[in-house]
Symmetry: C2
């Protein structure tokens, strides 16, 4: 067969599934995409599949590989160079950033996982901006989804925690930059390993994946195997719960947003977001009203840190309290005061 | 101290918590209440606490003890007589019903737990009607709540399964009879055991509680202990999730009900519940629309049996399909047809 007439090889199942991913809100041509690559099977498979789709002319993307060296292990520099070499071999540029996550975590008094995650996403956002990318991709799988849902469940998070990992979201609140996880709704971890092997490409094994001091590792190695004895499709079931919870949360947030808008516009001075009319609120459904109140606090204060259910219920009870004078103190110093037919936020 | 001047003994913590239960929607005086009593620590504690509250004149209820002998063990008749004797000793009347649950399950091709539950509730409802009771009480605890939530989670139920056991609901759909679980939001199983011991009253140990062929037993003996190593307050956390999910489900059902009402009233013939206008539906939020469609099927067909997520999504896609001719077949023979601007249900 001559080179001119040779048929294109068929797409691999893995690459085809990536392409068919219904919510793949990627620009398909002439765009820059930042892909976070740790070097594990998940991110290597994602990278290989993007390369396959580019090669098959299904996509025409300029991929920039982003790797954060967390400096948590002595040989982390070796891993970083391995990722850079992999990217080069596939024809992609890579950018390596080094952050001493342990030192940073100590300074900020945060746990390692949280500090690492924040450092990664801030690096991705910065790089995407510099490169003119509209999308950042990470290679979270359905297994990560199940583990995240269980982590949140174990912490007692309600429906808002059960949504797990969003397949697509803004990288930061109000940002135009999209963060997409194109594997999370369909790919199992074992699929990514099998695809790497089929492509004859090695991947790194993260040693912390065996460290049972991390709750996530124990979920993977102890809890999920036990749950599998009840339901062999437990990972898929949990991913389905996450999808349903996401749909429900979206409905609830929308309806609560409408209620909040109404309550804000009824305070007579629409520009004053710190005053909320209790008219409308007091006749609304309890669940919706509490969501609206929480969202109001978020708007006033900028975040929801340390705001617990008990605070929301206390604010809620102000709506029904006697006129005047009652106050709810929020963690961090802000307060909500009931003044006649208004709730007022002050710091 | 003479008998005339003796002070009433203070209420036990357990009885006080039962009395203070915020959603205790019991009539407090001059009412008949049916209490389901298996003879286990949970139901014996509930019965003892009701007796204590009657005695302390905090309540004035006529309690009728209901016990279903499931005939699953040789000595189940002995247990039934033990419950009758306990009730008599406390001054309550008891009614024992015998049902061969295993035989019934075999005939109906249902599992034992399901058949047992249905037999119990149908007995309770019948007895409540005969006795003129407005409320049936069962002694589910917070541990039962956590186990139920996990059972549903393992089955992949969404938010509707995560609500777990309702603290108060209608015994049957549209019934005036309330089914209340006054322990479920606050009492741990160990609290019920401790209260029985403090009162010096024995309770029965259900042998099936050790039979690990039952998923619920394995949840209690394997899964929850493992989850406790992640979060010592896991039972309380799961109960909190159930409460949050219940609040959210109530909001969603209400909003979906409003949407359905609008869509039904827009079909021009409000009396025809089997025709649904797609106007309004197509612009509504996906999650709400899917709930409304599911509720519509329930109204038309009378139940949701075997209706899976895939059917709801198929009906949903009819809303956005091309005009005319498209059909979704439902399990059991019914179908939904898109006819111009309507969806039509037919059997």
């Amino acid at each position: 067969m001559s080179a001119e007439s040779r048929a294109k090889p068929p797409l691999s199942t893995f690459a085809r599934k990536l392409l068919e991913w219904k919510r793949l809100e990627l620009p398909k041509t002439n765009a820059v995409v930042v892909a976070g690559v740790s070097g594990g099977a998940d991110s290597v498979a994602l990278l290989l599949a993007l390369e396959e789709l580019n090669r098959a002319e299904k996509l025409d993307l300029k991929i920039v590989v982003a790797h954060l060296d967390h400096k948590l292990r002595k040989n982390s520099g070796v891993d970083a160079r391995w990722v850079a070499k992999l990217a080069r071999g596939l024809g992609f540029r890579s950018v390596i950033r080094r952050v001493n996550v342990a030192r940073k975590a100590g300074r900020l008094r945060q746990n390692l996982e949280q500090t690492g995650r924040r450092a990664r996403y801030s690096f991705f956002a910065e790089l995407a901006k510099k490169e003119g990318a509209q999308v950042v991709l990470t290679a979270h799988t359905m297994d990560d989804q199940a583990e995240t849902l269980l982590l949140n469940l174990l912490r007692g998070a309600g429906i808002d925690g059960l949504v797990g990992i969003d397949p697509v979201r803004e990288l930061a609140s109000g940002s135009h930059l999209q963060l997409a996880r194109p594997l999370v709704t369909w790919a199992r971890r074992r699929d990514t390993e099998a695809y790497c092997r089929a492509r004859g490409v090695e991947f790194l094994i993260d040693e912390t994946n065996a460290d049972e001091r991390f709750a996530r590792v124990r979920i993977r190695r102890q809890l999920l195997p036990l749950m599998k004895t009840f339901n062999p499709k437990i990972v898929e079931s949990l991913a389905r719960i996450a999808a349903l919870a996401r749909e429900d949360r979206a409905t609830l947030e929308r309806k609560a947003g409408e209620l909040l808008q109404t309550a804000l516009s009824q305070n007579g001075k629409t520009e004053m977001a710190r005053r909320l009319s209790i008219r409308g609120l007091s006749t609304s459904h309890a669940g919706l009203r509490r969501r609206a109140l929480r969202e109001w606090v978020r708007k006033c204060r900028g975040d929801l840190r340390r705001l617990e259910r008990v605070h929301v219920l206390a604010i809620d009870s102000l709506v029904f309290g006697q006129r005047g004078g009652r106050v709810v103190e929020l963690p961090g110093g802000a307060r909500i005061t009931r003044k006649r037919e208004l709730l007022e936020y002050s710091e």
